[in-house]
Symmetry: C2
Amino acid sequence: MPKNQKASDIFREFLRQGKNRITPERFEILDAALEFDGHFSTDELFISMKNNKSRVSRATVYNTLELLTQCNLLSQRNFGDNMNRYESNYRRKFHDHLICLDCGRIVEFTNDKVNNIQQEICDALGYESSSYSFNIFVKCKNKKECPYHSGK
Amino acid sequence: MPKNQKASDIFREFLRQGKNRITPERFEILDAALEFDGHFSTDELFISMKNNKSRVSRATVYNTLELLTQCNLLSQRNFGDNMNRYESNYRRKFHDHLICLDCGRIVEFTNDKVNNIQQEICDALGYESSSYSFNIFVKCKNKKECPYHSGK
DNA sequence: ATTGCTGCAAAACGTTTGCACCTAT
DNA sequence: ATAGGTGCAAACGTTTTGCAGCAAT
C-alpha cells in the first residue's frame, strides 16, 4: 500500500477498478473505520455510527467493510469467538495477536519469523499466499496484576 | 496425552476429576467424533449421528464437544468462516492448516518452528500459553490442476 | 436510462438457553 | 434423594438476503 496516498484515494481507485460505485456512504464508513480505536466488530462500528447520527444501514456497513478488506485498508480478524472483527491497516505495521482467554485482553506483537515461515510453507506446498492468521491464546499468569481481569 | 490409554478411558478419567457424570451419550459422541474423517462442525457430527439412528440432542453434542476439547481429545479449529470445527487429537501429531480461499481445500502441515516462536513470544510478554492457531490462506496457483476447484 | 446501491425488515445460520423430565451418583 | 444431564424448542446474536426506491454513472 503506497504510504503517501490518502486512504480515501486508495479506496476510490479500488472502487473504480472494480466498477463499484463511488457513494458517500462508503466514504463515511471508511472514515468511521479508520477513526475507530482498536479492533471492532461490524455491529460495533454500525452502532457507533448510529450514535453519531449517521443514517447508514447495517447492510451497507457489512458490504463496505468487505470492500475495505479487499483493498487492504482493513484487515479482518478472527479471535475465536465466531465474530468478524476488523482493524485498520492504513499506515500501520503488520502484526499478530495474543488473546487472553481469562480477561479478553488482546496484545499485538510483531515477529518477522512468522511471515518468513508462512512464505516458505506456501512455496513448499505450491500455493500462492493470500494472507495468514497467527493467534496465540493465553492465560494471565498473575490474575491479580491483570488490569483487565476484574473488568469482565 | 498418554499414547497407550484408550480414548474412552482418558475421557472417563477427565469426567471423574471434574465431577461430571459418566453418561452413555457422552461416549456415543466421543466414538462418533473419533470416527469422523477430517474436520467437522458440531452440526455435521450431529446430523451424521442422526443418520445413524442416534437419539442424542444437538445441545448434548455442543456440550460434549466442549468437554472433549477441554481434555484434549479434540482440537477446536476456526478457518475464518465463523464456525467452530473440531478434529481428533487422539494418536495424531500436532499440525497447522493451510486453507485455499478458491476451492475450500484444507491442507495440514507440520512445522516445528511455529511452536517454538509461539513459546518465545509468550515468555517475552509474560503470559502462560494455552493454545495457538496458525492458518495460512492461499489461492490455487493453477486452477485447472486443482481437483477441488470445480466442486464448489 | 440503466444498473448498482441503499435502507429496511425478514430470514438464515450457528449457537445458547430454559425447562420439564430423567438418570448417575 | 439430589444434583447434574438430557431432549426439545425457543431465543439469541451475527450475518445474509429480498425488495422497493434511490442515485451514480
